[in-house]
């Protein structure tokens, strides 16, 4: 009986299954490693081999004396391969069907699901998809923010903090400019300004705020225009190690900006801003002033710089023209710079 044949020759059946490319892990339950014995056990359980009996020759009988006799007759031992296990194609199909039916059904079901999903993805209805995801994601974010407010704040601070500060600084400057413009000049003595404020209808609180805005001049550089060499330097904060390079750097930046963005024009670089630090520059014919300041400058500060530069050129023009890198006496130059530090 076939059952016995199979039992006797498990390896032959396994070879046949392999030749048919029937994956063994589909035959055995996935959590069990398929061994030849197990495979056969499962197969014999599932299949009715009675119909195969006639066409299934006794293969390589292991202990039959007849077979030994056959072998001793000099007939070459046939390899345990497919041709020794002839099945009609219909039978083979039936076998396949039986072995694979569960998997085939599962695959068909999955295919249907995948193509359904694919259709959903391909459709133009991404709006709908977003709409259906939105509440979920919003819920997740909200929960996360609730759970760890500090973390979120810390993560956002570098981005938001900076722009808020910049916006506030700009708003304050705008306010100050607005008040200053309305008053035309804020360099009038205090009582006069009070009066003007009232006459022009400027809000007293705005005006008071304007007077309180912090402003400080940190550094003043007098720079030889052509060479960028430093003529003199005054600092409110202490010594600056690279003071003698700043003039060169500013003049290099000015040349660069001019040649790159405005070739052939006679513009000047008036201001460089870094956070709420600014470098304000005014040019004279030989020397220029660069002032590092923080906060909101009083109205008319730039004109004051221009005035001072021209006064300096009038008073020390000859010295400035002769400047070639040799120091100019501090006593001639500094009186023109000092007042600017005290504005």
């Amino acid at each position: 009986m076939a059952y016995q044949t199979l039992e006797r020759d498990n390896n032959t059946l396994l070879a046949w299954l392999l030749a048919q490319e029937i994956p063994l892990n589909l035959v055995a339950p996935p959590q069990v490693t398929p061994t030849p014995d197990l495979t056969v056990a499962l197969l014999t359980e599932a299949l009715d081999f009675s119909g195969l009996d006639a066409s299934c020759p006794p293969l390589k009988p292991q202990s039959s004396p007849q077979a030994e006799g056959l072998a001793s007759l000099g007939e070459p031992e046939r390899p345990a391969a497919l041709e020794t296990f002839p099945l009609s194609s219909a039978e083979m199909e039936k076998l396949r069907e039986l072995v694979l039916i569960a998997e085939r059904q599962r695959i068909a079901k999955l295919e249907a699901q995948v193509s359904q999903l694919q259709r959903q993805l391909d459709s133009d209805d991404s709006e709908e998809m977003i709409a259906s995801f939105k509440p979920v994601i919003a819920e997740i974010i909200a929960a996360r923010v609730r759970e760890s407010q500090d973390d979120v704040a810390e993560a956002l601070y570098p981005v938001i903090g900076k722009s808020v500060r910049r916006a506030v600084a700009q708003a304050i400057r705008d306010l100050a400019r607005g008040v200053d413009a309305a008053m035309r000049r804020s360099l009038y003595p205090q009582p006069v300004r009070k009066l003007m404020q009232r006459m022009r209808g400027i809000d007293a609180e705005d005006a008071a705020l304007r007077d309180l805005l912090p402003f400080q001049v940190h550094e003043i550089f007098l720079i030889h225009q052509e060479s960028g060499l430093l003529i003199h330097h005054l600092s409110a904060v202490g010594t600056l190690s690279d003071a003698d390079l700043i003039g060169g750097m500013l003049s290099a930046i000015r040349s660069y900006v001019q040649e790159s963005f405005a070739p052939g024009t006679e513009g000047t670089l008036e201001e460089i801003r870094y956070g709420d630090l600014r470098i304000m520059m005014v040019e004279g014919s030989i020397a220029s002033l660069a002032v590092v300041l923080q906060g909101t400058e009083p109205a008319g500060f730039q004109s004051l710089l221009l005035e001072q530069v021209s006064t300096l050129h009038n008073a020390c023009g000859r010295d400035l023209r002769a400047f070639d890198g040799n120091p100019l006496s501090a006593s001639t130059i500094l009186p023109f710079l000092k007042p600017l530090l005290e504005v």
Binding site: G228, L229, A252, N326
Partner: protein
């Protein structure tokens, strides 16, 4: 404090930046990019007992002298014109740089740096070529190597002396 602006000029990749950083930092090569085409550094020197601050401008070179940003050269008291001894064209471009510098400042003091001497055999004809041009232009010539450091200090000392000597005649 006496200061002088000194520019380094010359074709692309002749070794201007290498000489600059060898002299200022005593290091051969330093990788950096200058977006505005110039790098500035100060070096305080003692020349014959006199202190002198050089404000060095390492400009970006191009194919030839036409690529130099003229505004970077303004007000320079001195300049070092560099060539790469292994590239003949960079030596032959020397007169163009000299002319350009003198056009901007007729009294500018110059020194020629024939660089990458470490790559040249002692009898290489490019040495003679460099010497000829230097002699015709009557400008001091120093054979340097930013790689080994050979003659780099001397190069800047030579120019610094010229700058201070001119000071005496002032």
């Amino acid at each position: 404090m006496i200061q002088r602006k000194v520019c380094l000029v010359g074709d692309f990749a002749v070794g201007k930046t290498s000489l600059f950083s060898r002299f200022v930092y005593n290091r051969f090569s330093e990788s950096y990019m200058t977006t505005i085409g110039v790098r500035l550094q100060r070096k305080v020197m003692l020349v014959e007992g006199q202190e002198l601050t050089l404000i060095l401008w390492d400009t970006e070179g191009g194919q030839d002298s036409t690529a130099v940003k003229r505004t970077y050269l303004g007000g320079a008291g001195g300049a070092i014109v560099v060539c790469d001894l292994t590239r003949e064209s960079s030596i032959r471009h020397w007169p163009d740089y000299i002319q350009l510098l003198r056009q901007i400042n007729p009294t500018i003091l110059l020194t020629l740096a024939a660089n990458k001497v470490d790559l040249l055999s002692p009898t290489h004809p490019h040495r003679t070529l460099a010497q000829q041009i230097a002699q015709e232009a009557k400008i001091p010539l120093i054979f340097t190597s930013a790689n080994t450091g050979e003659q780099v200090e001397n190069l800047f000392q030579t120019l610094a002396k010229e700058l201070l000597r001119a000071e005496v005649f002032h």
